[in-house]
């Protein structure tokens, strides 16, 4: 035993020594290549959308190794996507990748080059997110990422893309802190929980005249974060949050926790989470003593699936969305989705439309920065691409206008509140 103690002590001493030598420089600085900063971000501004810049030989900004993605003729330009394709949350990954795939098909060919979506399974976890990110980074023809889907995976993947100058456009990672990391590559085309929560609390308090609110969330990053915001805002407005509870995702019986909430007699129940759990709650509210209490869901509970699965129980329920009620582009997309996958769009997850937008906007930006050389190769300057995604302005997507701000928040539209009337979502009175 004595020797083991000795070893332990020496390890401790050594590590303290090392710690001392390391001296304070603990903050992780993303390793940016010099080329990133040197590249002029104005290249793309000179080229009108849809028209390609052509040069002879290797473009000047691609002189440094790795500064540009070089796509040889016959090779596709790849958009990566990390999403949970297996396990409990597989529906999200499937839906989002299917929608993005349609965007890639719609993009058609571009100066003889076509696009391809690489959807990889990240399981929604940090470990999976980092694995997938490393896989994409290793492939020199992956130029942009339409993802990731869950914030844990996104957080772990972000530094890896940062180092490789690959821009991201997440269709669903709504966690407010994601854009507060100082990342140059991360963008999202959904509104943050902070914005949504504030609007929802105000709507509940002022428009619906609710004073006693119960809040339930699913204990996951998205739902819990949103519920916290709503709780804070609602209290600040002067309302009373009578219950703040969490349900276990994946379970299908929440009647006990709902009975507990019923005993606090709230006027409305705000739910932060996804359709899967939201539907269970709505269906069990009546039998748990919450008859007549208004259900108010977030953008994770919006969609056809909610209507199909709650039926009469869902009548009068609210939810949030960033989807404009209807547009021609959306009708065309919905038809294409149904045709290709045999399911109505929005049935598997509420992020179908933002998923399409995230891939479509990335493709448009890639087109605007790509440089066709007379050696037949397509050059995509990475740093310029990162800057150009951040500079997207007034892009008309299925989910509204997309304009990115300085930190990568690209959803310009505010939330729309919807109510179920006669088995259909209609916009709730303002």
């Amino acid at each position: 035993m004595k020797r083991q103690t000795m070893i332990l002590v020496s390890v401790l001493v050594l590590s303290i020594l090392l710690a001392g030598c390391g001296g304070g420089t603990t903050a992780v600085a993303p390793t940016t290549k010099p080329a990133d900063t040197a590249a002029p971000a104005t290249v793309e501004a000179t080229a009108p959308a849809g028209e390609i810049t052509a040069v002879a030989g290797v473009p000047a900004i691609c002189a440094d190794d790795g500064a540009c993605a070089v796509i040889k003729p016959g090779v596709t330009v790849k958009i990566g996507m990390g999403a949970p394709m297996t396990g409990d949350n597989a529906a999200f990954g499937q839906d989002i990748s299917q929608a993005a795939k349609i965007a890639v098909e719609d993009a058609g060919t571009f100066a003889g080059f076509s696009f391809e979506l690489l959807a990889e399974d990240d399981g929604g976890s940090a470990e999976g997110g980092a694995a997938v990110a490393n896989k994409f980074v290793a492939d020199p023809t992956v130029v942009a990422i339409a993802g990731h889907i869950f914030s844990g995976a996104t957080l772990a993947a972000m530094p890896i893309y940062e180092a490789a100058s690959i821009p991201m456009m997440s269709p669903s990672a709504t966690n407010p802190p994601l854009t507060a990391q100082g990342s140059k590559v991360f963008n999202r085309c959904v509104f943050t929980d902070a914005a949504q929560g504030k609007f929802a609390a105000t709507y509940l308090f002022q428009n619906l005249k609710i004073t006693k609110l119960a809040i339930v969330h699913d204990g996951q990053a998205y739902g819990q974060g949103l519920a916290q915001v709503v709780s804070d805002e609602f209290t600040a407005l002067g309302g009373e949050v009578v219950a703040f509870e969490a349900v276990t995702p994946g379970e299908s019986d929440y009647s006990a926790v709902l009975a507990d909430i019923a005993s606090k007699s709230p006027q409305a129940l705000y739910f932060g989470g996804y359709t899967a759990e939201g539907v269970v709650i709505v269906n069990q509210m009546k039998q748990s003593g919450l008859d007549g209490v208004t259900f108010f869901g977030d953008d994770g509970t919006f969609g056809q699936d909610f209507l199909d699965r709650t039926g009469a129980n869902g009548e009068g329920a609210y939810s949030t969305s960033l989807i404009p009620p209807a547009s021609d582009a959306r009708a065309i997309f919905d038809a294409a989705y149904l045709e290709a996958y045999g399911q109505p769009a929005g049935k598997l997850s509420p992020y179908t439309w933002t998923a399409y937008d995230s891939a479509a906007v990335l493709i448009q930006v890639i087109k605007s920065v790509a440089i066709l050389s007379d050696d037949g190769n397509l050059y995509i300057p990475r740093a310029a691409l990162v800057a150009a995604v951040r500079a997207v302005k007034d892009y008309q997507g299925l989910s509204g206008t997309i304009t990115c701000d300085a930190v990568g928040e690209c959803s310009a539209s505010g939330p729309v509140f919807n109510i179920v009337k006669d088995g259909k979502w209609v916009e709730a009175p303002k």
């Binding site: 396990g87 349900v247 699936d305």
Partner: protein, 361 residues
């Protein structure tokens, strides 16, 4: 075990710790009960009734699944990790039957609404049959070749089978969550309305059906194990395979039949789950599987009455525990596992566990 005899009865330190923890926990529980019931009542009677209803229904489903674990464990001393997925298969069997019944026109509406009894019976038969069949093949393919291997080897094989079944179901049926199309008279959430303390408390029809059916099945199973030839053979194989074989029992046959029975029970549980809670998708068996395994151990794994008690107890703890202890419902599993640890500290083989403790990994 003669070696374990101590020379003199001396109080050991762990016994003191045990006693102190025991008295402390019991005291705290009593204090909490006093507080929530008499001291400063948090809930009205109607809420307690709702907790009890939710707990009993959930507990009876857990119990039914737990029996499957316990039967297999009793005979093979192995944790059939894929048992929850067998339940999922059963739930899908019932789902497709009810979907079909809904689409057949009959008696003015459709078969399901016109003849609800027949439709539900058909759903149960289909769910039970497909789950029993899966149980049989699961044993034959993934476990039988491993008879005689160290005990953890079949466990890993079971984990592999579980992963396979979950993902195969996802690929076959898609990842979306589906809802049972109950016959109109059994609409989920509808039930008898009791007025307690001036408030309406609903006792769902589907919940009552679940409790009654699972109690019937449990009694039937208990009779089967205790009274029939097969039951005797099962108990004999569970005691000692070699001797049982020498007595002319077809050991492999008995094991196969055990898996069929345990699969059938899981299938029935799956259909009940679907009828009462509505939800069916590829991952639906995972959490109930873990919970039922816990219930089986809580009751004393290997014992059929233990599994029943454990299941009901766990269901009630999940719904009443947070309320009694005044903790948020998010931590209900913490309470459940905490109680499990406490029970096992005092009764290391569960509530009604067998005396046998000399088990190795």
């Amino acid at each position: 075990m003669p070696i374990q005899k101590e020379p003199a009865r001396r109080v050991k330190p762990y016994q003191i710790i045990q006693a102190v923890t025991g008295i402390g926990c019991a005291g705290y529980l009593l204090y909490r009960l006093y507080t929530v019931l008499i001291g400063s009542p948090t809930y009205g009677t109607e809420t307690w009734a709702r907790f009890m209803i939710a707990g009993l229904i959930l507990g009876s489903v857990y119990a039914l699944i737990a029996i499957g674990y316990t039967l297999v464990y009793g005979i093979l001393r192995m944790i059939n990790f894929a048992h929850g997925d067998i339940m999922m298969i059963g739930a899908f069997g019932g789902y497709f039957t009810l979907e079909a019944a809904k689409s057949i026109p009959a008696g003015g509406s459709n078969f399901s609404d016109a003849y609800p009894f027949a439709a539900v019976l058909a759903a149960f038969l289909a769910g039970v049959a497909i789950a029993a069949l899966s149980g049989y093949f699961l044993e034959k393919i993934a476990y039988r070749p491993l008879r005689g291997a160290p005990r953890l080897v079949p466990l890993i094989s079971a984990i592999g089978a579980s992963i396979f079944l979950e993902n195969a179901a996802q690929l076959l049926f898609g990842a979306q969550r589906r809802d049972y199309a109950n016959p109109a008279v059994l609409t989920r959430g509808e039930g008898w309305t009791l007025v307690i303390n001036g408030a309406k408390v609903i006792l769902p029809y589907t919940g009552a059906l679940t409790v009654i059916l699972s109690l019937l099945l449990m009694v039937a199973l208990y009779m089967l194990v205790m009274r029939t030839r097969l039951g005797r053979a099962m108990r004999a194989v569970s005691e000692n395979k070699q001797v049982a074989a020498l007595m002319g029992i077809d050991v492999d046959g008995v094991i196969s039949q055990t898996f069929i029975i345990s699969g059938a029970l899981a299938g029935a549980a799956g259909v009940m789950w679907g009828l009462h809670l509505g939800l069916v998708y590829h991952f639906v068996g995972f959490i109930p599987g873990i919970k039922a395994f816990t219930a089986a151990v809580l009751g004393g794994i290997g014992s059929v009455p233990g599994a029943m008690l454990g299941g009901l107890f766990l269901g009630l703890v999940e719904s009443l525990g947070p309320a009694v202890l005044g903790i948020s419902f998010q931590l209900k599993d913490v309470i459940a596992f905490g109680i499990l640890v406490l029970v096992l500290i005092f009764r290391p083989t569960g509530i009604v566990g067998e005396a046998l403790t000399e088990e190795k990994v």
